[in-house]
């Protein structure tokens, strides 16, 4: 579904991503892990084109997308969240979400901002995530965790085929984490492809079908979670010994 080949991103002399290749299979949850500075988020940014890659290719559904602009990529069915939740202040949760509804052509542009069918759909999503009581709240007033959920909701509004989640568990307390894990799983079961960057090994081990490990901008291991966690290179570079803490 999503294939990344030989992706490179250099900042001046620093090679943040240095020839990284991996695939996220359709209908599966793929996790991208690695030590800090391994280039995971940079790779993420290059895939969603928030940053321009220095070289390399990104293919989605057989089409090349590394030359597209972010909104075009979103229109092709790839949506992402941000490590630090980005939401639009002074706009209600509903507006925040409807904002992400796809728009077609000039006529779409001048359509009413909040058409009933889209509002209904957004409410359906909020219902699904169990936060419909927040619909008319200002996006800025949400708590950290609620913002993460709102990010999710907005993501779903664009009818994505694949979603990229950047540290969905970062800074999230354990009970909310359980909730998020549940949502991701449910969405995946409904057929959504997921690519995830995360440090929480617990979440990774429980959710992902496949784990890609990055270090120093390159992929050092790629395989099912059980296999990766035994890989000595991974243990050394990333986990720092046996997996007991999580």
């Amino acid at each position: 579904m999503l294939t990344v080949t030989n992706l490179c991103k250099h900042f001046g002399g620093i090679r943040a991503v240095d020839g990284c290749s991996f695939t996220a299979e359709a209908g599966k949850i793929t996790a991208l892990i690695g030590p800090n500075g391994a280039g995971k988020t940079t790779a993420f940014n290059c895939i969603s084109r928030t940053m321009a890659p220095t070289s390399g290719e990104v293919w989605l559904d057989g089409g090349r997308i590394d030359h597209l602009r972010p909104h075009e990529i979103t229109a092709k069915g790839l949506s992402r969240t941000f490590q630090i939740s980005r939401n639009l202040a002074d706009m209600t949760v509903l507006e925040n979400i409807v904002c992400q509804a796809p728009i077609r052509g000039w006529r779409g542009l001048m359509k009413p901002a909040m058409p009933p069918e889209e509002v209904a759909k957004a409410e359906g999503i909020l219902e699904f995530l169990g936060i419909s009581r927040l619909a008319h709240e200002d996006g800025a007033n949400l708590s950290y965790g609620q913002k993460k959920l709102m990010d999710f909701a907005a993501l779903l509004m664009s009818d994505p085929k694949i979603i990229l989640l950047d540290e969905p568990a970062g800074g999230v307390n354990p009970s909310l984490l359980e909730e998020i894990i549940g949502h991701i799983r449910k969405l995946n079961e409904a057929g959504l492809t997921v690519l995830i960057v995360e440090h929480n090994m617990d979440l990774i081990m429980r959710l992902s079908h496949r784990v890609v490990v990055m270090a120093q901008g390159q992929v050092i291991a790629d395989g099912p979670p059980e296999m990766v966690r035994e890989d000595p290179a991974v243990l050394d570079a990333y986990l720092g010994g046996a997996l007991e803490a999580a």
């Binding site: 900042f11 001046g12 940014n45 928030t50 940053m51 202040a89």
Partner: protein, 292 residues
């Protein structure tokens, strides 16, 4: 050939003055992220101090320079206390301060105009209209002195920023305001003092301007974009960059003025400003913009 050399000298001569005019602007932007559109009108304020000193008591503008700097620095302190201290926490801080300094510029212009009328002024110490001739080539002494004084002041400032403890605090505040505060730096004081220094530099520059250009309160509009071009080309906040940009653009403008036409020489600054913002927003010496 001699002609070309002469134009080069004239360009450099103007550059020295522009350097000091832009230095304070750059410092204030660096430390406080304030694009101080009122900087040029403050320069004019400094020029008035020099003018009245010269007119009433015949004091040389170079002697009034420190007084102008101190008076303007005091204005800076007041302005900081009244206007900018509160704004530091606003979400749209940088845009807000641009508009606010714009308003301040209008207020100061109005006040200066009410007090001194919009008559053009200039101080005329003897050296202002003299020149050192080397064969056919001349170096205007007014600009020469102004340039030397300007470079001395800027070097002093650079040394202060690099080696003094307060300069250390200023650099820390520039890079990470919260962090500096959490490590025992009184960032409000640092901001206030550096704002005062910046405005004080405007005062000092004003004393030089008083005999190099003629001035009147409304003249500052003409300088805003010129000074901005120096600061932006130099990389916002880099004083060294501002100095280099001042010399570079003044020389280019001098050549444009001589070979293309005098009406086009100021265009150099505006076009440079525009192009740099678009092509290399971080300027010559600025860092790359933060990553997304």
């Amino acid at each position: 050939m001699a002609h070309t050399l002469q134009i080069l000298i004239l360009g450099l001569a103007l550059g020295g003055v522009f350097a000091l005019m832009g230095a304070g602007l750059s410092l204030v932007f660096g430390v406080m992220r304030i694009v101080n559109l009122a900087h040029p009108v403050m320069i004019i304020g400094g020029a008035y101090v020099a003018y009245w000193g010269f007119r009433l008591w015949g004091v040389d503008p170079l002697v009034t320079l420190p007084i102008a700097a101190v008076i303007l620095a005091a204005v800076g302190v007041i302005l900081y206390k009244v206007v900018f201290e509160k704004e530091a926490k606003a979400a749209t801080y940088s845009e807000m301060t641009v508009l606010l300094t714009f308003a301040v510029a209008m207020i100061i212009e109005g006040a200066l105009g009410t007090a001194f009328s919009n008559t053009q002024r200039v101080t005329s110490p003897d050296y202002a209209t003299d020149a050192i001739f080397i064969g056919d080539i001349f170096i205007p002494t007014g600009q020469l002195y102004a340039g030397i004084v300007s470079l001395v002041i800027i070097s002093g400032l650079a040394l202060f920023l690099k080696y003094s403890r307060f300069g250390y605090a200023i650099r820390a505040t520039t890079q990470n305001r919260d962090a500096a505060s959490l490590l025992g730096v009184n960032v409000n004081l640092v901001s206030m003092v550096s704002f005062a220094i910046g405005v004080g530099l405007a005062g000092a520059a004003g004393a030089l301007v008083s005999f190099v250009f003629s001035f009147f309160p409304a003249k500052h509009w003409e300088w805003i974009a010129i000074l901005m071009s120096l600061v932006v080309l130099g990389g916002m906040g880099s004083i060294l960059g501002t100095v280099v940009a001042a010399f570079l653009l003044s020389v280019i403008a001098a050549f444009v003025g001589a070979y293309v036409g005098a009406t086009w020489s100021t265009m150099t600054f505006f076009l440079a400003l525009f192009l740099i913002l678009i092509v290399r927003p971080q300027g010559l010496f600025g860092d790359k913009p933060e990553l997304a």
